[in-house]
Symmetry: C2
Subunit: 450 residues, 2 copies
């Protein structure tokens, strides 16, 4: 393929990374961003949830040699710290010794990727440019400058929509025949809050854990930042008996936190101010298929916006870059459209899968007081992972610590759950799990798979 | 409520009927239609499927006193005539003696409703006016005239989107927070064909039946017209071994019909011409919720586009008018938004239900060679309907011959199916169904419901 003139719409996490991938192949890349350059302006706070970077994202940045640099601005979280309602603490490791997911600020990561892109002469950033029109058939795209009001038109060899959950590029695709699309909102919204650092700059809670205060139908979480603070997020229904709707006065807000989150409240001196100033944002799931139309292709949230409960939104978007990059390498004689078609066919089911997994995980995260049989099954799962290393991987492990396709993790995880449910009925005591008959049964089942 | 200035977007079946309902309450109604007045221009042929009018639609038109007039342009179909692959014919009655669904041409029905609306001084039609902008918050709407290019702006007390599956009004709602939406295409498309009348003007096939040539993964159907012709529709996958993709040459088309539909082909002298001239259209299912935003409300396909396999698309749209009209009557002191909110809460689940039912029915229609157990269950169901009149209604009966909510029909039908499946296992012989124990069991089950 000759060097091409490419347009990337959206300079968020996925757009910035994808521009680097494209430029590495020698293409000329123009990247357009609706917002101002975040390196020069104050970020608008109040709607961001910290990111949890795991294997898929690390794999994608490693290919560009960015891993070491990004590790410096990330904090490893080795497990969940559960703050129970009875004030006890439970720590649940995410994986094996040393395995972690990494808390990283969206702004810091975005800036790092933009700076990496800016080093490349083939990449040109255009800020304050809102996509106002796309003609997918003619590969024409128009932007309107938010500051000058000026409109500019471009024709590209290919157009990449990395413009997020409310993608303008995808909106054009929605109008094409046979394009499947859905947007579904949760009844829960979220609000960003914070726990500031101690006076000495250290963290007020264990910084190497993702903190959760699960309360069945709602929850609070906290992820560590480099400056000693935590970004805290409250997930709560918009309407109903316990809901954002019922938290209006200072008293209502304080009563709610005093009753349900006293161990968080004691670390939140700015709660009232933050609660009233920050918006209650909604949580949308977007699925679509295909992910392309002719010479235009979607990546990241534009193709699959997911709720944040598996910490996989950014990871999924980065994996898109990695997967599409490999398809381009493997099919050098194909047109853009041909490669995009392969990308849609191969990978769009994975966007739908992580969307479903993320919704399911919400229920698991909220509900710490699960049934005994559920907890026994979880214990069995941990035991099987140790007894059959590399052969039995929990769904969480597959999602967070491998690059296996999400659709595979969804399917395989469900098979494992069904099998484990039968096993714990037959062998309801931990002591029975060392028996030869038990292990032989698991062995036979593992052999029967795939 | 004082008399209001209302805008209806779309003068199709539902828009024309709804304008009549609104005008009857004394409101001033402007109705805008993107196309030209179909009463003055040749209809663009090739993409319409005849309608099957059943109880819901009859109920809705009866309220306006239109039933007698419309019966004159409708042909009763008392059942399905199945044209088996082995050339045998099976007739399956839709309901009890005398119960029928009615074949009616989309164009004829639309014209009849427009003429009814035109009798009313409160209704003003505007043709060739395409909705180019909607501001839902300000209740402002803009139209662009297709002939003059002129744009005109209106402010309405309420706006009704009856502008079909690709509704411009709904598109604006899609951008509002917490609006759930999905569009899903089938892998099957359809093509309109025809069977002309005999030389003497009579029908070439039984005119009081809906003809089906089921062939498992695809099918042909034919519905009677007043002029002695049938409107024929081929439903077939777009891609694959047997698909529209593989029917390009005259020979391919003729071979396909000769092999699979010889008893239709003998009545289709214009097949080749029609097949090549008429488009292969796609089949979309649209669901959304809510159906309103502030003072704007969706009705008909704009709120719930369904595939045509239950013959309920128009019936569902007409029922929307009937239901919303009753809510307006019942809540005279409520604002538009308050009534629309009630309408969404009460009725939007029914749009989703008929959408699902229609997809399911496709499989049943295509597959005439169902399993013995399926056929036995169907036989049992017919028996139970006779043995327990008005207490046991099949799902088909509830959908086609009552005004019961679709969501109820879906739920209840599934309960009945589960029960009937157990019954036929326990009583696998028809002779056992007269036994007292059997009848007592059904009686007990019926009593346990609701």
């Amino acid at each position: 393929m000759k060097k091409q003139n490419l347009v990337v719409v959206g300079a968020g996490l996925v757009g910035s990374l994808w521009a680097c991938y494209l430029a590495k192949k020698g293409h000329q890349v123009k990247i357009f961003e609706r917002r101002s350059d975040m390196r020069k302006t104050e970020m608008s706070a109040g709607k961001s949830i910290n990111l949890a970077m795991s294997t898929r994202a690390w794999t994608a940045v490693e290919k560009l040699g960015l891993q070491d640099e990004l590790l410096k601005i990330a904090i490893p979280m080795y497990g969940r710290m559960i703050h129970q309602e009875d004030l006890t603490l439970d720590f649940q490791a995410y994986g094996k010794e040393g395995q972690a997911i990494y808390s990283i600020s969206r702004g810091d990561l975005n800036i790092a990727l933009m700076q990496e892109a800016d080093k490349n002469d083939h990449i040109e950033f255009h800020f304050d440019e809102k996509c106002s029109k796309v003609n997918l058939d003619k590969r024409e795209i128009r932007f309107k400058n938010a500051k000058t009001g000026e409109e500019s038109n471009y024709t590209a060899d290919a157009i990449f929509g990395t413009d997020g959950a409310f993608s303008a590029v995808r909106y054009q695709m929605q109008k094409t025949n046979l394009f499947n699309y859905s947007q579904q909102y949760l009844e829960h919204g979220y609000k960003e809050l914070s726990i500031p650092p101690k006076a000495d700059g250290s963290h007020r809670l264990d910084k190497n854990a993702l903190h959760i205060w699960p309360r069945k139908s709602f929850m609070l979480i906290a992820l560590p930042n480099l400056d000693g603070s935590f970004t805290v997020t409250l997930f709560l229904q918009f309407k109903g008996e316990i809901s954002f709707d019922r938290l209006n006065s200072d008293k209502e807000i304080m009563d709610f936190f005093t009753k349900f989150f006293p161990t968080a409240l004691e670390h939140m001196p700015d709660l009232l101010k933050e609660f009233k100033e920050n918006p209650s944002a909604s949580l949308v799931t977007v699925k679509c298929s295909p992910w392309h139309y002719k010479n235009a292709c979607l990546l990241g949230d534009a193709a699959h916006a997911v709720v944040p409960f598996y910490g996989q939104g950014m990871n999924a978007g980065f994996q898109d870059c990695h997967v599409l990059d490999e398809l381009l390498d493997q099919n050098p004689d194909n047109s853009w459209e041909e490669v995009f078609e392969k990308f849609s066919t191969l990978h769009s089911e994975n966007g739908a899968a992580i969307a479903d997994l993320a919704i399911r995980n919400f229920i698991e995260m909220r509900d710490s007081t699960a049934s005994d049989s559920f907890l026994l099954r979880k214990k069995l799962e941990r035991y099987l992972m140790e007894a059959f290393p590399n052969r039995y991987l929990s769904q969480y492990q597959m999602v967070s610590f491998t690059n296996l396709p999400y659709a595979y993790a969804l399917r395989k995880g469900d098979q494992q759950t069904a099998f484990a449910e039968k096993l714990v009925k037959e062998y309801p005591e931990e002591s029975l799990w060392k028996e030869q008959a038990f292990l032989a049964k698991v062995e036979a089942w593992l052999n029967s798979l795939d």
